[in-house]
């Protein structure tokens, strides 16, 4: 390496400060602490080696997340599930598209019981994480980047290498899917009372 001291200092100030966030993301990508550690190490090593190609002024956090995700995806056997999502996504709906309800089915289920969604608070962290981790990667990453890390649509679009419209669609579907999962769990556990028969939306 022929990096100057100044640019190494830059790496510390701009990249290493995101170590916590990259680790969090790696945990959600891999679902396991030991794999998350490997992913974090590889991400920072690659980032360090490529630091002189990093464009100053772009957001280092998204840059690191992009590397982490690419490394992760390369290590993953990208199975059938991924292809299916990409195929269905070309006609993926979001609010406003014909046939897609703006009314959240989970909200409908909570009507008269807990329309503000307070039941979410009764679900323990481990279960919430398990539900996030069960989402297909495309949805999981979008939801985690937006809802947990506060990325803008543009930043998610760059990190995932897809257009902003696709980001919105993934967020919409990922959030709804996750909400449904958590709702069903809350119902099973008796945190929220089951529908009286005849008012379900799923018939």
């Amino acid at each position: 390496m022929t990096e100057s001291g100044a640019s190494r200092k830059g790496f510390q100030d701009e990249a290493l400060v995101h170590l916590d966030a990259v680790y969090r993301f790696a945990l959600r990508l891999t679902g396991a602490p030991d794999q998350a550690e490997d992913l974090v190490q590889e991400t920072f090593l690659r980032a360090y080696r490529a630091w002189d190609q990093y464009e100053q002024g772009t957001r280092a956090k998204s840059w690191l997340f992009t590397i982490a995700r690419n490394v992760f995806l390369r290590h993953e056997e990208r199975g059938k599930r991924h292809d299916e999502i990409v195929r269905t996504e070309t006609r993926a709906g979001g609010p406003g598209e014909a046939g897609v309800d703006v009314v959240n089915p989970v909200w409908v289920s909570t009507m008269g019981k807990d329309p503000e969604g307070e039941f979410f608070d009764s679900i323990v962290d481990d279960k919430v994480l398990e539900a996030i981790d069960a989402l297909p990667e495309e949805y999981r990453t979008a939801v985690v980047l937006s809802d947990v890390e506060g990325f803008s649509y543009q930043e998610i679009s760059e990190t995932m290498g897809v257009p902003v419209g696709t980001v919105k669609s993934r967020l919409f579907r990922g959030r709804r899917r996750l909400q449904k999962e958590l709702y069903d769990f809350a119902e099973e556990m008796g945190y929220i009372t089951a529908h009286p028969s005849g008012t379900g939306e799923d018939r």
Binding site: E3, L16, L19, D20, V22, Y23, R24, L27, R28, P33, V40, Q41, F44, Y48, R49, E89, T90, R91, A92, G93, G94, P95, G96, E97, A98, D101, V102, V103, N104, P105, V106, W107, V108, P115, E116, G117, E118, F120, D121, I123, D125, V128, I132, V143, V144, D147, V148, Y153, V162, P163, G165, T166, S169, L171, R175, L178, L182, T199, E201, R203
Partner: protein, 115 residues
């Protein structure tokens, strides 16, 4: 069915036909450019962009106003906020373990020295 009933409340399907990038409806410029009250349908369609801070200020103000005024829509926003804060609480607080931090720093030091 309740869902049908609600859809009727909200005026059924969308009247906005301007499509679309990647199968996702583009925000209707003229619908937001005017100053009339948003319909429930519009407010709910833009709810995520509103929550995600992706609307221009003037549009965000109109969506905000709708949710503040509309008793039917407000719980939708509350449900989403409750969901988001739960995700943040569960997934957003973890930091890197000290041992992992040390190993990353060590790895980078080695790379600097030898690589």
């Amino acid at each position: 069915m309740i869902l049908d009933m609600i859809k009727r409340w909200f005026g059924g399907g969308t009247s906005r036909e301007q499509e679309k990038s990647d199968g996702f409806t583009a925000r209707s410029e003229e619908a937001l450019a005017d100053t009339r009250m948003l319909t429930c349908q519009e407010a709910l369609e833009w709810m995520y962009e509103f929550m995600d801070g992706e609307l221009p200020d003037a549009d965000a103000a109109r969506v905000d106003q709708h949710f503040k005024m509309c008793q039917a829509c407000y719980p939708h926003l509350q449900l989403e906020e409750s969901f988001r804060s739960r995700l943040r609480a569960a997934a957003g607080r973890t930091g890197v373990p000290e041992a992992v931090r040390s190993r990353v720093l060590e790895l980078l030091a080695q790379e600097e020295a030898g690589g």
